[in-house]
């Protein structure tokens, strides 16, 4: 366990010694906040989507609705260096000849990503705070807590994809694109906008695997354990696959 913590600390340190973690946080927070406070637009069915000031409701549903796609794009960028950097600099050779188990390395890296997500979400609490400050209605805490729990579980799932994708290549860009290729479809599958173009036979599957669908139902305050279980088992599967790949490489 102390080795997991050592790797976790090492990854976090290198993320905060470089601009990557800050860039991730700033991009995510400013995009989500802008979408919530500034943006007004027409939806696909001609209905208007208004920003917070126009609507004047004390609800964060629109804020959270940005999360699935924003994280699907940004988390792959955050994760893309995890393994390629080790391969390119050759440090993987030292790392894997330490008396450390494969799962310890993978979990350390995964937890570092999760920590950056947690830090980002903590900073994003400024938005609920601002909403409670500027709206006349009382803010309902249920959907906010639910939204953050869901965001954490969904973010973990994205991280596990980003981590696995990065372990197959020495090139960060390839790792990024690989993760993007999985994360973005997962994010949008089953949402009303996309469902229009989904073949009918595929539609139930898309609704089952789609992240947004599950994320939004938790965000509405419907804390269905099946949704959390889906995210948790998805994450476990991808982390396990990563451990398997690392373990397999050892024997060659």
């Amino acid at each position: 366990m102390s080795r997991v913590i050592a790797i976790w600390g090492k990854e976090l340190r290198s993320y905060f010694n470089s601009p990557i973690a800050y860039a991730f946080m700033i991009l995510f927070l400013s995009y989500a906040a802008a979408k919530f406070f500034v943006w007004s637009s027409a939806g696909p069915y001609g209905e208007q989507r208004f920003n917070f000031w126009v609507r004047g409701e004390a609800s964060l549903a629109d804020y959270f609705s940005v999360f699935p796609v924003a994280l699907a794009v940004l988390v792959p960028a955050l994760c893309m260096r995890l393994w390629p950097e080790e391969y390119k600099s050759g440090t993987v050779e030292v790392l894997m000849t330490l008396p450390v188990r494969s799962w310890e390395v993978v979990c350390g890296k995964f937890l570092a990503m999760l920590s950056i997500l947690v830090a980002t979400f903590l900073l994003s609490l400024s938005v609920p705070w601002a909403v409670s400050r500027f709206s006349v209605e009382e803010l309902d805490m249920g959907p906010i807590v639910g939204g953050y729990v869901a965001a954490l579980f969904m973010g973990a799932a994205y991280c596990s994809v980003g981590l696995l994708s990065s372990c197959f290549t020495r090139e960060q860009v390839v790792a990024f694109l690989g993760a993007l290729f999985i994360c973005v479809p997962l994010a949008v599958a089953g949402t009303p906008d996309i469902d229009l173009f989904t073949p009918t036979w595929l539609s139930p599957i898309a609704k089952f695997i789609g992240f947004s669908v599950r994320f939004e139902s938790i965000g509405k305050g419907v804390l269905d354990l099946r949704d959390l279980f889906y995210f948790a088992s998805f994450t476990a599967l991808f982390v396990f696959l990563n451990v398997t790949v690392v373990e397999y490489r050892r024997l060659r």
Binding site: A6, E93, P99
Partner: protein, 314 residues
């Protein structure tokens, strides 16, 4: 301490290591010598458990690398070629991290990290970012992490490659210091390196061991042969080919200054035949000299790309 028996490693159809066997006793400093691509790095990667073997037995401290990899890795300190380090950490952060990963904790960790900073003369750079270090310092940080847990076996792949002469001398001192306490295997394709630091040498070429012994023994084995330099008056013609065809002569080459260089018996028994060949071509000897054999010659002789008898002394 280390036992390697009948080690084979294939990459697809290419056989990188072909039946290597050797052993290293506790406290020994072994030089692993060979030209680039001879299989040194592959062998080392197998010993440290980074790479699997095709067949064979490797035991560190009596433990099989294939079966008890983790316990073996606890006993090993390894520095790969080019000293890969985490660039975005400071020296002290990096060494603390490595010490932790190697299972050290508390006061023992602090004490060991301070100790290796002393041994590797890293005091001045302890707060410097690894990415800002010169090659010599990087190599020292790499050595420091390899010995921070006082391992039973230290494995260093080309610890002096790419360093300037001053840095090489400095690293050599560190290596000697390490060799006093630990069992060490270091690989190199530079002979002076091995002569300066190792008490025993294993020479490997194209995946097989071609010689083994102390540097003195290896030189002695070749004492009856010497490198000769020949300068002639008159037209050389196809002399190079004629020399190569002479019995007793080997490794014939024509130097840029027009002289010929070759290996031949030290007793000069080849001289009459040489004179005959030259006379037949209307040329004569201007100068014929010979050098004392160095490990360099032994090495060249044993690892030359022309086929050599392989695996004999192992």
């Amino acid at each position: 301490m280390l036992e390697v028996r009948d080690l084979y490693k294939n990459y697809g159809s290419f056989r990188a290591v072909r039946g290597i066997s050797f052993s290293v006793d506790a406290g020994e400093v072994l030089g692993f010598l060979g030209p680039n691509g001879a299989g040194k790095t592959t062998t080392m990667k197998i010993v440290v458990g980074y790479m699997g073997m095709s067949s064979g037995v490797v035991k560190v401290d009596g433990l099989s690398v294939a079966e008890r990899s983790r316990e073996v890795r606890e006993r090993i300190g390894y520095l790969p070629e080019h000293a890969p380090l985490y660039d975005d950490m400071t020296v002290i952060e990096y060494l603390r991290f490595m010490a932790r990963m190697r299972g050290l904790s508390g006061p023992r960790r602090r004490e060991r990290v301070e100790h290796v900073i002393g041994v590797c003369s890293l005091e001045a750079k302890r707060r410097a970012l690894v990415s800002t270090l010169s090659k010599g310092y990087r190599q020292r940080v790499g050595l420091a992490q390899a010995i921070v847990h006082d391992p039973k076996l230290v494995i260093l792949d080309e610890p002096t490659v790419g360093l300037d002469p001053n840095q090489i001398v400095e690293i050599r001192e560190v290596l000697r210091e390490i060799g006093r306490r630990n069992t060490v295997i270091l690989s190199s394709h530079i002979l002076s390196e091995v002569e300066a630091t190792c008490r025993r040498v294993v020479i490997i070429a194209s995946g097989s061991i071609v010689a083994e012994g102390t540097p003195e023994e290896l030189e002695a084995r070749h004492r009856d042969r010497r490198v000769h330099h020949l300068a002639i008056d008159g037209d050389a013609g196809d002399l190079e080919a004629a020399l190569a065809a002479m019995p007793g002569l080997a490794d014939v080459s024509r130097q840029p200054d027009g002289r010929f260089r070759f290996q031949a018996p030290a007793d000069g028994s080849f001289a009459p035949a040489l004179a005959g060949i030259l006379a037949a071509r209307g040329a004569s000897i201007r100068e014929l000299s010979s050098d004392r054999p160095t490990l360099e010659d032994v090495f060249r002789d044993l690892t030359a790309p022309v086929p050599v008898a392989a695996g004999g002394e192992a």
